[in-house]
């Protein structure tokens, strides 16, 4: 079982030093996620959910502790190695969509592929496939400003999936959506999790989202205080 862990975090601490105070955002997190699992991280504002996602995904460094993703210790990687690793193995979905406004939908989706060194023609084909997966083939040439919030978030999901990552990190993926669009997006994530067997770590406030995952990690004050396994899923 230990060998199938795709995420293994041990004693992870994260502190922020401002000029006046030190904020301990994570205080000794131990966590493991198995391959293909869909995990929700929940908790009140400021409990460290997003910080946890950031340090696990290598977007931010850890102050103390170890983070091993798919056997690779990312806490020891250089910025360059970590960026490369992200481009090849990870996908991201953010609350504010965070699409590049000057690129069209298909260009946004193919961007990480190109960064990972995929050939232009392959990248375009895979981007179109990813858009088809989220039912947005028709919207491929449109720029973000020409799409609805739900559509933009689906483009973000397509972008996260285009390089067929081992792990998809999602930070409040439904936070900016109405309930109908939110339900659609979460169903899509669940479907993809099942079809592609990718690991999903989702930070959310929404219990409805959490219920659709395999496990809910509840956080408070920078620590995981509770783990709930959702048997139905």
């Amino acid at each position: 079982m230990q060998n199938s862990n795709i995420i293994q975090a041990t004693g992870v601490h994260k502190s922020y030093n401002t000029s006046k105070v030190t904020v301990n955002a994570l205080r000794g997190i131990d966590l493991s996620v198995i391959r293909g699992e869909m995990v929700a991280v929940m908790g009140p504002s400021g409990c460290g959910k997003t910080t946890l996602l950031n340090v696990l995904s290598g977007l931010d460094d850890v102050t103390k502790g170890q983070v091993v993703i798919d056997g690779s210790p990312i806490h020891t990687m250089s910025d360059r190695q970590c960026t490369r690793y992200r481009a090849e193995k990870m996908g991201f979905v953010f609350q504010s969509y965070n699409l590049l406004p000057v690129l069209s939908a298909v260009e946004n989706v193919e961007f990480p592929l190109l960064m990972a060194g995929v050939k232009q023609s392959d990248a375009r084909r895979r981007a179109q496939e990813a858009l088809a997966l989220v039912d947005l083939s028709e919207e491929a040439p449109k720029r973000p400003a020409e799409m609805s919030g739900g559509q933009q978030q689906r483009v973000t999901i397509a972008r996260a999936l285009a390089n067929e990552p081992a792990i998809v990190w999602a930070d409040e993926p439904t936070g900016n959506l109405d309930s109908e669009n939110a339900a659609e997006v979460i169903d899509l994530l669940c479907r993809l999790n099942k079809e592609k067997l990718q690991t999903f770590v989702i930070v959310t406030h929404d219990l409805a989202v959490g219920r659709k995952t395999n496990r809910i990690l509840r956080m408070a004050d920078g620590q995981i205080v509770e783990e709930l396994y959702m048997d139905a899923n």
Binding site: Y16, N17, T18, S19, T50, N54, L59, D60, D79, R80, T83, R84, R86, A87, E88, F92, F94, S96, N98, L99, L100, P101, V102, L103, E107, E110, F111, P112, L114, M115, A116, Q120, R159
Partner: protein, 988 residues
């Protein structure tokens, strides 16, 4: 123009083109390998059009300054070339006797030598023509009309040899042939005919000796009489030989090469090398007049371009800061996009490339506009210079060449691109999480390793520079080294707990105090230090950086003070607080903008002080004229035997009107400093009489040991043969402010003008005819105020003894009694000595004309430096536009809390006013402060200088700078006021 900063333009252009092309090639390769990053850059560029325009404006300024400087240089080069070519026409090489007559005119030699030269060059295909020639200069008068021209070029041609040279042409293009002239008949130039009001058939008198020659004017020519100026007269060679008493003799052989008047110069080296064996044995020498004229023109143009580029340095520095600021702000605007780009796999290098591509697009466009606008600015500058040169003979014709345009373009693009690369590297160093969430970057931890290394490196580098400066006796290096120590030590102390405010304030104030250290304090400790123009630039930069640092790190005190002063005005405190708090919160961008404003205003104020002081110097005409009122020159062909006797007989002037009448003789000699490895060089030695030494008021910068007073020096010069005084320009100085221009062939060495006394220095003077030598002991170096004493001055007896015969005086200086009018007397002197070709000038008037030209050029330089203000203004525009976007939400909150639209607008205007006024204030204060030092230093050369505040000039600078900054921020402020609170509050 052939050279810039001493580097041949062609080589500079090739080097820049190689760098430019390499840059473009690298970029194309990178684009091919990573098109999506290029796509991002291309699409980002036009996202905000107004901002893109501001960016292009900011980026184009450096190129514009380059282009304007080069255009001015090109115009000068072209104009001087045109004038030179008008005077020498097709002539490429002139062969004259090595030794000139004491009058300075070429000596005569056997006409047969012309045939020797001709035979020697018969097989040289590059030669198009060879001709014998006599050139003389003499006064020409029309007695009946009372009109005269003191210096007329009189040319004697042998027409049968003139093929290949210019022909004499009248206004209609008709050819005038010398064979049509009978004895006593001449052709004269149209300009001379106009001056003397004569036409064909009239008679003129020429004084080629003491007896006038009557000449009948047969025709007027427009061009073709070369080499000569505007006023010339032409006759057949035999006739001029007879008139000058030089039968079968000539004083020049002229050679023209194949090709037009400019192209012919290409063959100069070939012709000179063929002439070498022919001239080897004799006493004649060949001068490449065409090539020399073209070189002189290029040197003058290059010197002008260099001056403008040197004075434009501050604006260029401000422009570099603007480019940096623009890119940092662009990055701030796109922070979350950059974060997500990094999050999904883009490396830092990709971010650098993205900004570099975008910067390159802006730079390529901006450089095109900048170089073209620079040509326009250059045209404007040329118009002003033309007015300043109005008194001189030079007629300026606007010109620029494509090399300069390419040079300005590539210089601008390469400079911009380098700055863009550095800024891109800086902006790429972002924290992904903070960028995505648009959280401000935390202040850099004082405990970071990088910070520690920097804190240690700075004082260490400072100490090394200081030592290097001391060893090399270079003041700039020494001052900079100590400055780095002053900055480094508090920053190092910061690592051990010294608060930021204290560290930066100590560093800032320390630097300001160090650069304000009075020059004589340093000089008393380190008398050997040398300095140049770089000190002006360095002191400006360091003072401004120090002052801005101090202000930025003490902003809260400033804020408190402003609120206390203006806070009583009803409704003002909230607006005031927001207006000042924002810029003080963004220390980096406010600091850079303040630096830009302060730098430019600083230079303008210093320039205003210098102009003002120079004006004061020129107003003291008596000091510059040495106490004399009129100076006069006479013709060498007919010198005045005894001027006092002549004046006694004169009906036009009274001898009693004169307080003193001094005469100067002189002759061309060869000189070198004894005891050095110098070669003999041509020089003009002047001899003064006792009246001159008794009445002259010129002072000395440095005198030989053993003399009690300045008057002692003048007395010794007169009484002790073999002594001399020299001009300041012949002595090396520790303060070298040379900016190109012709180099001196002869200069003394072994001591500095700043020394206490002159050591034993002797000049060896040689009579070029006889080779007789004499030693002249240098006993004084004249002050720069000695406007009318140039070169080497000795006594007339010394000059006479060198030549073993009396050398007649050709120059005179007159001191008038108080009640006598100088202008009337000058005219009367000219009339009295008309046959001697006397040209008399009122010295005060001449000085004033010089002053107005000099002040105009200085004003132009100030205007040119003022172009840098555009940089500061553009920076304020960029910041204001960015602030509106950045603070949209906060504006919404303010509006929700009760801020009126007008208060928002006012707050924005107040904010930019605060930054611009602070920058202007710092610039004025620092400029005025440094001017005290500069004027003190200048006093050593110009004792009459006084420190006077140029109020009008400073007020104009302040009004223009502030007014323009208000105008730039008006639109963004209005835009901010129009923001709807509800919309702003939900804005993401």
């Amino acid at each position: 123009m052939e050279k810039l900063f001493g580097i041949p333009i062609d080589q500079l252009m090739v080097a820049l083109l190689i760098i430019f092309s390499l840059g473009i090639a690298v970029m194309i390769v990178v684009v091919m390998r990573n098109r999506v990053i290029f796509k991002l850059a291309v699409r980002n560029a036009p996202r905000r059009r107004a901002q893109a325009i501001l960016i292009v404006m900011g980026l184009m300024l450096a190129t514009m300054l380059f282009s304007a400087s080069l255009t001015t240089g090109d115009t000068l080069t072209h104009s001087i070339r045109v004038q030179a070519l008008q005077e020498i026409g097709e002539i490429d090489v002139v062969i004259e006797a090595e030794a000139r007559q004491t009058s300075g005119q070429p000596s005569y030699y056997d006409e047969a030598f012309f045939h020797t030269v001709r035979d020697g060059l018969v097989d040289v295909s590059e030669v198009a023509g060879i001709a014998p020639l006599i050139t003389e200069v003499a006064p020409v008068i029309v007695p009946d009309a009372g009109l005269n021209e003191a210096r007329v070029n009189i040319l004697g041609y042998a027409e049968q040899w003139m093929s290949g040279f210019d022909r004499l042409e009248d206004k209609q293009g008709g050819i005038l042939s010398l064979s049509d002239l009978a004895h006593g008949q001449v052709y004269i130039s149209n300009m001379l005919a106009e001056e003397l009001v004569v036409s064909p058939g009239d008679t003129v008198y020429s004084y080629l000796g003491s007896v006038p020659t009557v000449l009948e004017v047969v025709g007027l020519y427009e061009k073709g009489a070369n080499p000569s100026g505007d006023f010339s007269l032409v006759m057949p060679l035999p006739q001029l030989q007879e008139l000058t008493g030089n039968e079968n003799k000539i004083n020049s052989i002229i050679i023209t090469n194949q090709g037009d008047s400019v192209q012919g110069a290409r063959h100069t080296d070939t012709v000179l090398s063929r002439l070498e064996p022919i001239l080897e044995a004799g006493t004649l020498e060949a001068t490449p007049v065409k090539q020399d004229a073209l070189d002189d023109a290029d040197e003058a143009g290059s010197a002008f371009s260099t001056i403008f580029l040197i004075f434009g340095q501050f604006s260029i520095a401000a422009g570099i800061l603007l480019i940096f600021l623009i890119f940092v702000m662009l990055a701030a605007e796109r922070k979350s996009e950059l974060g997500i780009t990094r999050a999904v796999g883009a490396q830092r290098g990709h971010i650098v490339r993205m900004f570099a591509f975008e910067g390159a697009i802006y730079a390529l466009v901006a450089a095109v506009i900048g170089s073209l606008l620079g040509v326009a600015a250059g045209w404007g500058m040329v118009r002003i210079i033309a007015i300043a040169f109005g008194q001189a003979d030079l007629e300026l014709t606007f010109a620029f060449n494509w090399q300069s345009l390419v040079l300005a373009y590539t210089m601008g693009t390469v400079l911009t691109f380098v700055v863009v690369m550095i800024s891109s590297w800086r902006v790429s160093r972002l924290n992904i999480v903070r960028a995505i969430r648009d959280i401000p970057e935390p202040t850099v931890s004082r405990k970071s390793i990088r910070g520690l290394i920097l804190a240690i490196l700075l004082p260490v580098a400072g100490i090394l520079l200081t030592v290097a400066g001391l060893q090399g006796e270079q003041l700039a290096m020494f001052m900079l080294g100590v400055s780095l120590v002053i900055i480094g030590v508090p920053l190092l102390a910061r690592r051990f707990g010294l608060p930021d405010r204290a560290a930066f304030t100590i560093a800032g104030l320390g630097v300001v105090a160090w650069w304000f250290l009075p020059a004589d304090t340093l000089e008393s400790v380190l008398p050997e230090m040398q300095q140049g123009m770089e000190m002006f630039f360095l002191s400006g930069i360091m003072l401004v950086v120090g002052a801005v640092w101090t202000v930025i790190y003490n902003s809260d005190i400033l804020l408190g003070a402003v609120v206390r002063i203006f806070g009583r005005i009803r409704g003002l405190p909230p607006v005031l607080k927001t207006a000042i708090s924002y810029p003080m919160q963004n220390r980096f961008r406010t600091g850079i903008t303040l630096t830009m404003f302060s730098l430019v205003v600083f230079t303008l104020v210093v320039m205003a002080f210098i102009i003002n002081s120079m004006t004061v110097i020129f107003e003291d005409t008596e000091r510059l004229s040495g106490g004399f009122d009129i100076r006069a020159n006479t013709s060498y062909a007919n010198p005045i035997p005894e001027i006092r006797t002549a004046l006694q007989k004169s009906e036009e002037v009274e001898l009693d009107d004169f307080q003193a009448i001094s005469s100067l003789n002189g002759a061309p000699v060869k000189v070198k400093q004894e005891g050095t490895d110098q070669e003999f060089t041509d020089f003009y030695l002047q001899g003064v009489d006792s009246s001159y030494t008794e009445n002259i008021t010129y002072k000395f910068d440095v005198i030989a040991a053993g003399y009690d007073s300045q008057q002692d020096i003048w007395q010794t010069l007169q009484e002790e043969p073999g002594t001399a005084v020299v001009s300041a320009y012949l002595v090396p100085t520790k303060q070298s402010y040379e900016m190109g221009g012709p180099t001196l062939d002869f200069r003394l060495e072994g001591f500095y003008i700043e020394d206490e006394t002159i050591p034993e220095v002797f000049i060896q003077v040689q009579d070029p005819f006889t080779g007789v030598e004499q030693r002249l002991r240098v006993i004084g170096v004249l002050n720069q105020e000695a406007f009318y004493a140039s070169g080497i001055l000795t006594s007339q007896e010394t000059v006479n003894s060198l030549f073993s015969q009396p050398v007649p005086p050709l120059s005179y200086m007159f001191q008038l009694k108080d009640s006598v009018d100088a202008e009337t007397t000058a005219k009367a002197l000219e009339a009295t000595f008309v046959e001697h070709g006397m040209q008399a000038e009122v010295m005060a008037e001449e000085i004033r004309e010089n002053a107005s030209a000099s002040v105009m050029i200085n004003n132009l330089l100030q205007g040119f430096m003022g172009l840098g203000l555009l940089v500061g203004i553009a920076a304020l525009g960029v910041i204001a536009a960015r602030s509106v976007v950045e603070r949209r939400k906060q504006i919404g909150v303010l509006r929700a809390l009760g801020f009126q639209k007008s208060m928002v607008q006012f707050s924005f205007l107040l904010e930019s006013s605060f930054v611009s006024l602070l920058g202007i204030g710092l610039g004025v204060a620092l400029g005025a402060g440094l001017s005290v030092q500069i004027i003190d230093a200048m006093k050593e050369s110009f004792a009459g200088l006084t420190y006077q505040v140029p109020w009008v000039n400073v007020v104009v600078v302040v009004i223009i700078a502030y007014g323009a900054s208000l105008l730039t921020t008006y639109l963004p402020a209005r835009q901010a006021a129009k923001i709807y609170p509800a919309e702003a509050l939900r804005f993401e």
